[in-house]
Symmetry: C2
Subunit: 213 residues, 2 copies
DNA sequence: GTCTATACTTCGATAGAC
DNA sequence: GTCTATCGAAGTATAGAC
C-alpha cells in the first residue's frame, strides 16, 4: 500500500491560488508557489506540466464548485425571492471560503480571458448559467419582473466581488483618513446587495418582499 | 522657441495605459510600451524614472479626470434622480473614452492597491467621494432612501466596470455557444443599471421616477 | 516521487555617444 | 533630447542523481 505523498497536488493548488491572486499570472513566481506549498520546484513541475496548466487547474476547481452550489439553490423548491437571497449570500460565502479566488477572477476578466481554454470557459459559463435559471424561473412564475438574466447576474455578482476584493484598499484609505473608516462591514454590504436585488427584480408597482432571513 | 518633441509624454502614457491594461503591472513590458509609443526605451526612462513611476502617473491622470467630471455633475442643479442617471452614463462614457483604463482598475483592486502611493490613493478616493455627495444630497432632500453612499457607489460602479471589461470573455463564450450570444449591447446594460439604481434609491413605498432621458 | 544544480531566456534599467 | 548597446538580476523549466 503506497504511502500518501507528503504534499498533495491539492495543497499545491491552494498555494498557487494565493500566489496568483496576489500577483497575477505574470507576476506569480513558481518558486514562491513551491515554497508556499512546501515542495520544490521540480516536484511542482512533476505534478503540473507548466505554470499555465497549474493555473487552469485551479480555475476549473473553483468554477466547478461555484457552479454546482448555485445549481443546488436553483434546484431547491424555495420561492424565487428566497433563492435570490440565498445565492447572494452564497457568493459572499464562496469568497469567504476561497478568500483568494475572486482576485483571480478580477484579473482574468481584466485580461480578457487570455489564459482560458475551452474546458475552463465552459465551467466558467456554468456559473452565470445557473444563476440565470433562478432568475428565469422567477420571471416565468410571475414573481420577478422581466429582466435580462445575465444583466441581473452582473448586477449581483460584480458588487460582491468588487467590494470584498477592495477590502485592502478601503482599509488603506480609512487608515490614511482619505475615506470614512467605518465601512468595512462585509455582512452589512451583503444585506445591502440582497435588498438591492429584491428591488431590482420586484414587479412594477410592488415594493418586493422584505428580507426572508 | 523650442520645437515640440516628436513624441510627447502624454503619448507614452496612452501607450502605457493599453499595455498595463492588457498585461497587468508585472506582465507589462517596458520595451513594448516604448515601441507602441514610438520611442525607444531610453527616451521613456528619460521622461519617467521607472516602470512604477509611469504606472502611477497614468493612474493619477485617469482618477483626476473621473473625479472632476463626477464632481461637475454633483455641482449641477439637476434633481437627484437625474444626477444619478447622468453619473451612471458618465461611467460608461469614461470607459468608452479610456477604453483600457477599467482593466487597470480591476487589476489594481485585485492586487490590493499594491502599487498605489498616497497621492494616487487620494485621487482615487475622490471618485467615490464625489459620487457619495450626490447620494447624500439626495437623501438630505428626502428624494432618496437612506443608504450608505459608499455601498451605493459599489452597487453602481462595479457592474458597469465588470460588464464592460468582460466584453471579450462574453464574446468568446458567445462564439463557442457556451452562452447566448446576443447580449453584447452596452447601451442596454447601462439602461439596466440606471433603472436598478433608481429602484435601489427610491424611498420605501414609492416605485421611483421613470427614466429621465 | 524527491531533490540539487543549472541551462536558457527575458526584462528593467543604465552607460555613454551624439 | 535621442539613440544603440549592454549589464545584471530574476524567471521558467529541465537534467539527472537518488
Amino acid at each position: 500500500m503506497p504511502r500518501r505523498p507528503r504534499v498533495t497536488p491539492e495543497q499545491i493548488l491552494d498555494a498557487a491560488t494565493r500566489e496568483f491572486a496576489e500577483r497575477g499570472f505574470a507576476g506569480a513566481r513558481v518558486d514562491r508557489i513551491a515554497r508556499r506549498a512546501g515542495v520544490n520546484k521540480a516536484m511542482l513541475y512533476y505534478h503540473f506540466r507548466s505554470k499555465q496548466t497549474l493555473y487552469r487547474r485551479l480555475l476549473r476547481r473553483a468554477f466547478s464548485q461555484a457552479g454546482a452550489r448555485i445549481q443546488r439553490i436553483a434546484d431547491s423548491d424555495a420561492p424565487p425571492f428566497e433563492q435570490l437571497d440565498r445565492v447572494v449570500a452564497l457568493f459572499a460565502d464562496l469568497i469567504g471560503e476561497q478568500r483568494f479566488f475572486p482576485a483571480i477572477m478580477l484579473r482574468e476578466v481584466a485580461e480578457g480571458g487570455a489564459h482560458l481554454d475551452v474546458e475552463t470557459l465552459g465551467l466558467l459559463a456554468a456559473v452565470p448559467g445557473a444563476f440565470g435559471r433562478i432568475v428565469a424561473r422567477g420571471i416565468a412564475a410571475g414573481e420577478f419582473r422581466d429582466v435580462n438574466p445575465l444583466f441581473a447576474y452582473f448586477s449581483m455578482m460584480s458588487p460582491i466581488v468588487f467590494f470584498l476584493c477592495a477590502a485592502p484598499i478601503r482599509r488603506e484609505l480609512g487608515a490614511r483618513r482619505l475615506a470614512s473608516p467605518d465601512i468595512r462591514n462585509v455582512a452589512a454590504f451583503v444585506s445591502h446587495v440582497q435588498a438591492n436585488m429584491r428591488r431590482v427584480l420586484a414587479p412594477d408597482g410592488a415594493a418586493g418582499p422584505r428580507s426572508t432571513t
